[in-house]
């Protein structure tokens, strides 16, 4: 049987991207294989690890548990879109660099997207809240301490960058 294909248009990191894909194409594979945005990683493909987390209309979702066809017409933000508009590292990315919040980096894209959305909701988390915020993402390397520190540092950086300049 030849698989039916669907035209899918998704605004990825603010740019309308189009591709023709079979219904079973996962959003994660659409981003990686069809659009070449390999920042989004696939670990478990059943919703547990969080590496594939992207923002759908601003809210974190697992891109391994969604079909690209279902995302048609929506906005998606990936780790590539978590930078500053001018291209510099975004506050969460910068904080991971400063705090040594990654080692192999496999889990990092899911953490960056999750934390980016979280800080919009809670710009000044406590350490305990920071821990809770990353509870749905697994990391096999860091032991999490530096990631918790990165959440707090990212909140600081974001506040500094958003403060009106004198």
């Amino acid at each position: 049987m030849t698989e039916q294909r669907h035209q899918v248009t998704v605004a990825v990191n603010g740019v309308a991207r189009r591709a023709e894909v079979p219904a079973r194409r996962l959003l994660a594979d659409f981003l990686r294989a069809d659009l070449g945005l390999t920042g989004t990683h696939l670990g478990c493909e059943h919703g547990v690890c969080g590496a594939c987390t992207v923002l759908l209309d601003g809210a974190p979702v697992r891109s391994c548990l969604m079909f690209a066809v279902s995302a048609d017409g929506h906005d998606v933000t990936t780790v590539e879109g978590c930078r500053e508009p001018a291209g510099d590292l975004g506050p969460v990315q910068q904080a991971f660099l400063e705090c040594h919040g990654l080692q192999c980096g496999f889990c990092t894209p899911g953490f960056i997207t999750t934390i980016t959305a979280y800080l919009e909701e809670n710009p000044k988390p406590t350490e305990e809240e920071a821990r809770e915020a990353i509870g749905g993402n697994l990391c096999r390397c860091t032991g999490y301490q530096n990631i918790v520190a990165a959440v707090l540092r990212a909140a600081e950086l974001k506040r500094e960058r958003e403060a009106p300049h004198e």
Binding site: M1, A23, P60, V61, C64
Partner: protein
């Protein structure tokens, strides 16, 4: 792994979705939040020929509350229910329980009605529906609309009364009568994981503070949510005696996560704490 080939339908109206299920129900699955169905597809544990994606039925993305209770449409995400202040004020148990369903990221996508149809014996919301004596509204071309009470809706593990040509359109959670306190608690190995044992309780008191009704519902303790009436056992406020009585009614199984005996012990401890908390929420 990757999901098997499938024919996709993305209806824009409920009527169209119902018609598609009438035509293809035997070989089709409704795709709601996908937080249970897509893992099964990715692991190739299921391979429906067609998917009927209900994510464009925006009219079903509601959470409505009134003095009778809370109505949750098929496209309301767990997160919508969690964040609806009016739903929390009407039935605090809804937020108490839905916050323990997975992680926020899963709740952003997974639907409450989808988790009822999925009928996982470890799922929180089926037990909440059973504890509150709620119901599910189903729609098909053949039978039109029918309403199934919770006690008939959960048929077995991963098996609900939703027939293959039916779409669940709404769940109704009735508000408990009188002065009733509630509590939800569970134990899981990691925050956000499926619970080894979970319990929800309702305790009703009269104006003098005496217990006039009490019951508990359990997850992970049997093939379907288990509801135990504890009115007599909790009448004198001896929570641990009531918890012992509840644990005797339960028949959990061993699995790789916990032994039956350990689960029963958890039920005992959690029930006593939960009854006390529910009581203290409304005691004079």
């Amino acid at each position: 792994m990757k999901p098997p080939p499938v024919v996709y339908h993305g209806p824009d109206t409920l009527e169209e979705a119902v018609r598609l299920m009438a035509e293809h129900g035997a070989e089709a699955k409704v795709l709601a939040g996908g937080q249970s169905l897509v893992p099964l597809l990715n692991m190739r544990l299921t391979a429906p020929a067609r998917l009927v994606d209900v994510n464009r039925l925006d009219d079903l993305a509601y959470v409505h509350s009134d003095r009778h209770g809370v109505r949750v449409g098929a496209l309301a995400r767990h997160a919508d229910l969690e964040h609806a202040t009016h739903a929390f004020e009407t039935i605090p148990l809804l937020r108490q329980a839905v916050r323990t369903v997975a992680h926020p990221t899963i709740r952003n996508r997974g639907t409450t009605v989808g988790s009822l149809v999925h009928a996982d014996p470890c799922g929180e919301m089926p037990a909440v529906l059973a504890l509150l004596d709620g119901e599910v509204v189903l729609r098909s071309e053949r039978d039109g609309e029918r309403t199934v009470p919770a006690r008939d809706f959960f048929v077995g593990p991963m098996e609900s009364a939703c027939r293959e040509d039916e779409i669940a359109v709404e769940a109704f959670f009735p508000r408990p009568a009188g002065r009733t306190g509630s509590d939800w608690r569970e134990l899981s190995r990691r925050n956000g994981d499926y619970a080894l044992c979970g319990v929800g309780t309702l305790v009703r008191v009269d104006d003098a503070g005496a217990v006039s009704a009490a019951k508990a519902a359990y997850i992970a303790m049997g093939p379907v949510p288990q509801v135990v009436d504890l009115t007599a056992a909790a009448a004198d406020g001896d929570w641990s005696a009531a918890a012992d009585h509840a644990a005797e009614q339960l028949d959990p199984e061993d699995d790789i996560h916990a032994s039956a005996e350990y689960r029963r012990q958890l039920a005992r401890v959690l029930t006593a704490r939960s009854l006390r908390a529910a009581y203290e929420a409304v005691a004079p």
